[in-house]
Symmetry: D2
Subunit: 344 residues, 4 copies
């Protein structure tokens, strides 16, 4: 059930509705979005809420039949636009998030950040906490990495996106990041989704590599039902039988998500294909498919990278990619904004 509050309802009205629902044993989840305040109610499918519908401030009660509610176009038809600094994601602009897989050293990161900014990238990516399949692999610099990213933001003016891997680290990461990323392995880590959902900060939620699109939307529903409306989804490849690419980029996810959800969709071709030779083609394809942006890995010396070197673009290749995406973006009705530090 979704309880839609009137625009002119007071906070007192809201409190009363919530209290009434709690007294009846429900767990109401208020959500304050661009189009108003709604309350999601779990496990109320068969219940009679007529009395709640009559409370002051209640506009209507919608029995949402689809498995996901708040993320659905049925619930909000206009696209969600997430604002990060002066970048708009989900609107007319096509957004490029770029940077190395991991923050390795201050020098490596600042060099990359400056190059991303100069080449027209909009947001800096970088990993400070790295979830790794093996306990013996490099796990990231931790808070030191976050500090280096903050310094890069300071210098370039570009917002930063970085991953958070556990509920207890959410406050720390939230202090530094402009966008909190939830990685593919954690897409169904519900304790983490709830902790990030309680923040009021943009989130980039990556699709699990063997998760369906429906499960991705349900994971986003965890974020939204905990009150966070600034959710972006990221297609980054799924696991299939094909082995010539690291994963299989499911680019159809872009129109599929856009049809059923109002949330912005970002494509990460680097993790999907895993080989630098295929990244640029897939980035261009993402633009043409209607994505709201891409997240791409670039590194000063890919062959020396501590993680994901084989899929990282070197700087000349990144510049080429930026230039080649622009006319495609325009062909599909988007523009690539010039932001950040463009001085040379």
């Amino acid at each position: 059930m979704i309880i839609v509050m009137k625009q002119k309802a007071t906070l007192a009205d809201l409190s009363r509705v919530i209290r009434t629902l709690e007294e009846r044993g429900f767990h109401p989840r208020p959500s304050h979005g661009a189009t108003g305040t709604v309350i999601g109610v779990m496990d109320a499918a068969g219940d009679d809420l007529t009395d709640v519908a009559l409370l002051p401030g209640v506009d209507q009660i919608t029995p949402v039949s689809s498995k996901f509610k708040l993320v659905s176009r049925d619930f909000q038809s206009a696209p969600t636009v997430v604002n990060v600094g002066d970048v708009e994601i989900g609107g007319d602009e096509f957004v490029v998030m770029a940077g190395p897989c991991a923050v390795e050293t201050r020098d490596q990161y600042l060099t990359t950040a400056r190059h991303v900014a100069k080449s027209g990238g909009h947001i800096l990516r970088g990993g400070a906490f790295k979830p790794r399949t093996s306990p013996y692999s490099f796990q990231g610099l931790g808070e030191e990495g976050l500090q280096i990213m903050a310094e890069a933001r300071q210098e370039t003016g570009l917002p930063i996106v970085t991953e958070v891997v556990s509920p207890s680290a959410v406050p720390l990461v939230a202090r530094y990041a402009d966008i909190m990323q939830i990685g593919a392995r954690n897409m169904q880590n519900y304790a983490l989704l709830e902790a990030v959902g309680e923040q009021r900060k943009p989130v980039l939620l990556k699709r699990g590599l063997m998760s369906t699109i429906e499960e991705l939307l349900l994971a986003a529903e965890y974020l939204m039902s905990n009150g966070n409306n600034q959710v972006m989804l990221c297609e980054r490849g799924i696991r299939t039988f094909e082995r010539s690419t690291r994963n299989t980029l499911d680019l159809s996810a872009v129109p599929v998500i856009r049809e059923s959800s109002h949330l912005p969709v970002i494509v990460d071709p680097s993790h999907a294909v895993g080989h630098v030779a295929y990244v640029a083609d897939m980035a261009r394809a993402a633009v043409a498919a209607g994505a709201d942006g891409i997240m791409v890995e670039t590194h000063p010396q890919p062959s020396m990278a501590l993680s994901d070197g084989p899929q990282s673009l070197d700087f000349p290749a990144f510049v080429d990619l930026m230039e080649s995406m622009r006319p495609i973006a325009e062909a599909v009705g988007r523009r690539m904004k010039v932001v950040g530090d463009r001085s040379d």
Copy 2:
């Protein structure tokens, strides 16, 4: 092993090499391509062919280490360009093959063909023999369907591509078709591959929905090692766990194939996604990804189609798609040629 013949070698030289190889128990497979004549030799990995290397007309013997030989860029670095009528596939032009899934009636097919021609399509597709999962589904009109397609070619000037499903039907289909299609279910039907390989007619080989790219290339190797050099490959979606699309379009296959093979790559977004709502986005993505063309389904009344209605574009949607692909094609260095009957 690949035995490369000199350009100036005579047919007598060729015969002697083949005879020598046969006497030694091998099965030599001569292939006459744009760049010259070569002979593929099966099961000769460990053999000493020094004496053969010394025969007149032999240029060099290449121990091909990759699993595929004739289809490989190692063997021919320049891209193969297949000529069908005045359409060039694999060169600068981006090619659109369009039409209904199945030829249903003369009227349905001619109406569609005229519309494809008028909208700028380059090649007419249509199924006369339909492989169907259930024995109780519509199996196509057979030769009558081929005659209708031939009539449409006559009227529009556009070449036709149609599927052949059994070795015994190859001569019949070859008599009508400009391009013979081998469908996804038959990608590893070796008797069929050999029969079509013996033809001297362009072939469109569709990737099996359960097949790796390597297996697709090896299936093409069957065609080429039987002497047919005019082979085009078609990505049409693979089977994965995701169910919001019929199959998962593996668009990364385009750059992967282009890196390892000289053969043209066509993308079929219709069969891949299975829903008309996603076809155009994926068609545009295919252009941006570097495909040599697309194959797309269009039907006068998709809701009445005997097969694959839900994934067929109606005529206005097809016109929109044609127009939207042109600037993307240009952005990636291709052009979309105007051919056929453009009179109204």
Copy 3:
């Protein structure tokens, strides 16, 4: 639609029903099974067949809602028992089909056949025509291989099962084989299914490595709707993301098939797992899961095999497996019959 004929209906009655259906544009497919004669009718879902129901000899007309008809338990509740020589497949006996992947030489095959017979195997397997992913791999001995298998049958008294790969080879293979095998790659080769369906010989239909169980049953429906009732299904592993085994043995297919179909189910653990270390465990699991038999590869010298050596049991391992399966078979209510040449 399934038209069930009365037990006492005459051939004249049958002819009239068929003729009537044909006059109305249908393609009736009579099938003569253990439980009587039925006629499958394609594409008649919405049609009114009341008049046909009134014809002499017609017992009832069943609108079959499931996608498959003749293979379904709805259509025949008693299990199909296929008789091959004095071996019964699908009844109380647990059946072992064993032999090398390919017939390589007379000596290799006869040695193996004798060992299979002596160890208690019931049916000899062996490939004379081998579908291979690469055109440059060993493709089998052809008819010479069939002759060697026939000699082995003569000597051991065990029936033989071998693969047929093209419609044109069906008569040749049918002349030698007791059971015709349709391989995984050809599960949806409809021309082949029809050609084998027209034979009156037991068939072993292997599941495609990325085919659903429903598609397997529909492929069996092609065989049965062409008149062949002696169909056995074979689970041999499906393609998944897991790579520590060649394919993933989907053993749940055994109870799933047994619930929806009356056809016997054989399990091929050798092709599924691809490593000899796991074959015996999976063979025993197949017995416990309720399979009607297994097909397993054994070779005198697995390391010298021309194909599938890594997954072939040597003779001592085969003997061990035979002995270890017997008590499990008894635990699930089956017995392993002693047949063939048991003299030493």
Copy 4:
């Protein structure tokens, strides 16, 4: 790198080795197993540790080439036996863990627990914290559920296994549970793996439905490298294209894991197949395949279950299953111990 300490080394020796490694920038992870103490060292692949090898108490330094170290048979050849109460897992006994998916009410759980005990089950399963795909589904009773499970243990004498879903809940769950379960969705939740790894309590680690066997072993490596040696692995089905079962039970994982790891393997057929009709066949197959035990769902009234009802055995079916597994267990050299409350 694995540093193996001598049996007679002192704690002072161990401290010195650890301190030396830390001074050199490594993160040593000591692990005290049945066969002695070893120290795993991350990120030391290329380093020269000759000086460390010379320290007192060091037996040898093994450059472990396989991706996983502590979980490997290369590191410990004897199977790990986990003791829980008087149940031994990984030895000669075949162990049955049973109970409902979720603890719903005191009455429902105690009724089930008594029945499991009476029927010869060895360990009680039950979920108090439920990770659910949708935020609107029943999420478990929390600590109240744990208290009910503890009461059931008290009454029946059977140990209990239950899931922990977040690092912060580890101390709470550890207080109640005899075995802590890490669910499929959390297999790569590294913060959780580390928190559970620091406990000295048996763990049941379920394979992610999107995870390879190698990734499962690497997740177990996280547990072991944090000091927890009592790790059991659980195969519970992987995600494939097949949809007639909920997931595809990858039973080959049993011999694959047993070949490469010394850890016990449990099979959960209930979650794998998802339909009660197939559970018992797959449970019997698991016994025959060599598993150390199964985990199976049973419920007093499956049709009324709040979660996973369709895959839960009712009590008579559970009794039948118990009886049918015994002779198969004996056929593969195992016995099913009689424990707990067998009074009627």
